[in-house]
């Protein structure tokens, strides 16, 4: 996807790339530290921090009490005191317990006091793991409406590492939405060096000329698979991976839609009031005359994520659902 200068490369899964981003930054900057539940000797619920306590010690890989408000609040306090904390939510669903700390304390701190709050909250997100209603949520839209936060949602190992490093170096609270489904499902050769992926810059993951798909996180892979299917029908689909939700790369979205004239937005989170709604509003107001078809969305219906496989598979989007919508748009 990205042809950088030729440097030493290594093959990493998405989850290994997250770990590598964290490890790199901790080696580079002694003020970076981690806090969360079971992240020390246990290595985290998903093993993102496996081996970290051995390398960095218990002062920088801190097992906390089970209290998300305290974890996020402590991250804010440590950031105000000059450190760069990375807090782990075991599942993104649990961030609800720390909601006040994010939306009222961290997000408003710089605006009120002109003091940076350099912190990252990691949010293992999404379904497809049979986790049921409390371990499967995609919560990014809860925070999309909160000025003062930055939101990122990588889809590849390359972006996972580069966005983690950029998020840690950013002077604002950054919510890092990592796809649990992608953890061990995607693997790629990525540079073994100190690159970053800047926040707020989208990336064309597949070039095309007939329809634009805007997606992020897991949905990028559904879009790519669907684009492959459509290519067999002679339809050229461009897949734009947002990578960051705040700041939103509006220019990249508009440029792609102006090129193709058709837009499909895909995300795993529920449809109403989702990120897709904002993108649709943007395109309809800023590129209306370029559109050759209605803007469409593929997203989860407005339900919690259910437990039984039949139910979960019914509500979550997938490549077939995306392909069906693309065919409909191609024929429009």
């Amino acid at each position: 996807m990205r042809k950088g200068k030729i440097k030493p490369m290594k093959t990493l899964t998405y989850i290994e790339a997250i770990s590598e981003g964290l490890r790199d930054e901790m080696r580079r900057d002694p003020t970076v530290f981690l806090l969360g539940e079971d992240i020390g000797a246990y290595g985290g619920a998903f093993k993102v921090t496996k081996g970290f306590i051995e390398e960095f010690g218990a002062d920088r890989v801190i097992d906390t009490v089970l209290a998300e408000g305290a974890i996020i609040g402590a991250a804010t306090g440590a950031a105000l005191a000059g450190l760069r904390p990375v807090a782990e939510m075991q599942f993104s669903d649990f961030v609800a317990n720390g909601f006040n700390q994010i939306v009222n304390v961290a997000a408003k701190y710089h605006y009120r006091n002109f003091i940076p709050v350099p912190m990252v909250v990691r949010l293992p997100s999404g379904g497809g793991i049979r986790g049921g209603p409390f371990h499967s949520a995609s919560t990014e839209a809860w925070f999309f409406h909160v000025p003062g936060l930055k939101l990122v949602a990588p889809s590849t190992p390359y972006d996972a590492k580069g966005l983690m490093k950029a998020a840690i170096r950013d002077p604002n609270p950054v919510l890092y939405f990592e796809s649990k489904f992608l953890y061990r499902h995607v693997k790629a050769e990525i540079p073994d060096d100190d690159y970053i992926v800047p926040l707020g810059v989208a990336d064309i993951k597949r070039e095309g000329s007939d329809i634009t798909v805007v997606a992020y996180g897991t949905a990028v892979h559904w879009a790519l698979e669907a684009a492959g299917k459509l290519a067999a029908d002679g339809v050229s689909v461009e897949v734009l991976d947002l990578r960051s939700l705040i700041p939103l790369d509006r220019e990249a979205i508009l440029a792609s839609v102006k090129k193709t004239g058709k837009l499909l937005i895909v995300h795993e989170a529920t449809i109403t009031g989702g990120i897709g709604a904002e993108i649709a509003a943007l395109v309809s107001s800023a590129a209306f005359e370029y559109l050759d078809a209605p803007i469409r969305r593929v997203a989860s219906p407005d339900t919690p994520v259910p437990y039984a496989p039949t139910l979960e598979d019914y509500v979550l989007p997938n490549a077939e659902k995306v392909a069906a919508e693309l065919r409909s748009l191609a024929a429009y």
Partner: protein, 315 residues
């Protein structure tokens, strides 16, 4: 300490006057009755220590060195104020003085206090973090979360619980059924003590002990200070729900009058020196109000600035 208490009361009285003249556009809060607690607790800290005061702790800001003019501009929402009009009252942060003011969500700053204390621990700095909560606010979940974290991690934290009888209009009998809020400390395995919040030396002694314990690495403590909120929740509230007899009884224990008697008995304060002090403070407050009132509000478009710490962050 006496001067700081007088300054707190005179400043808040001035703010209430400005409120009634329509010059304070939002709420105006008073810590009348809480002066000894706010001042004596802050006096227990050293220069490198951190404080996260609440809305009845104005005196603590002055003890830490905040200027009267800066506080006046902040209360009046003027350009050049501590938050440049983005927020009012004591809702500001001044890192140079290590003051991290509260937000309106009571209890929200306790986890933040833990984080500052954690940073001190990680950096092996001998600094202590002091923060506050009220009788009502003590029920907020973040207070429990923070105490759980601070106790397990032995964080250098001191929590002052200001039990002043009412949470807005709700009496403490509808907030908790324990005799003393300090007894909650037992649930965290940490020391908890209750003092008469109108007795400045008693508050100071209890806070000094808690600060020393925190500084020595033994972890957090709770100091419950029992006071009375002598005014309403804010200036719009005449507190009709507080029995007159209760207020009359507490009026006799006015913390400033009590400490005046203490100082007078020791020969440290005379009628002349008292008058001289109060006149000086009033003149300084009046001058600050005049200066601040002459300043403009920030221009409207300034509202868009500073949402993010970097310009690239603006969405």
């Amino acid at each position: 300490m006496y001067a700081s208490m007088v300054l707190m009361r005179e400043f808040e009285d001035a703010i209430l006057r400005l409120y009634h003249q329509g010059k304070i556009v939002g709420g105006a809060y008073s810590g009348n009755g809480n002066e000894a607690t706010a001042v004596a607790s802050a006096f227990a800290l050293g220069d490198g220590d951190y404080i996260l005061p609440m809305h009845r702790d104005l005196g603590a800001h002055f003890v830490r060195g905040q200027s009267i003019l800066a506080m006046m501009k902040q209360h009046l929402g003027r350009a050049g104020g501590l938050t440049e009009g983005r927020d009012g009252t004591g809702h500001y942060t001044d890192p140079a003085l290590r003051i991290y003011g509260n937000i309106s969500h009571l209890g929200a700053m306790l986890p933040v206090a833990c984080g500052i204390a954690l940073a001190c621990t990680i950096r092996k700095e001998p600094n202590v973090v002091m923060t506050y909560i009220g009788d009502g606010g003590s029920n907020v979940g973040e207070v429990h979360e923070a105490l759980a974290m601070a106790s397990v991690m032995r964080l250098p934290l001191v929590l002052i619980i200001e039990n002043n009888g009412y949470a807005y209009s709700t009496p403490v009998a509808r907030q908790f059924i324990v005799d003393k809020l300090s007894s909650r400390a037992a649930g965290y395995g940490i020391p908890g003590t209750t003092v008469d919040g109108t007795d400045l030396p008693a508050v100071h002694d209890a806070c000094r002990e808690a600060v020393a314990r925190a500084r020595s690495g033994k972890g957090p403590s709770i100091v419950e200070s029992v006071t009375m909120r002598m005014h309403g929740h804010a200036a719009h509230d005449n507190a009709w729900y507080v029995p007159k007899k209760t207020l009359e009884a507490w009026k006799k224990k006015d913390p400033i009058v009590r400490f005046e008697k203490f100082l007078t008995d020791k020969g440290l304060l005379t009628r002349t020196s008292r008058k001289h002090l109060i006149d000086g403070i009033r003149a300084e407050i009046d001058a600050a109000a005049e200066t601040a009132l002459a300043l403009p509000y920030p221009p409207g478009e300034d509202a868009l600035r500073g949402v993010y710490a970097d310009a690239e962050g603006e969405n």
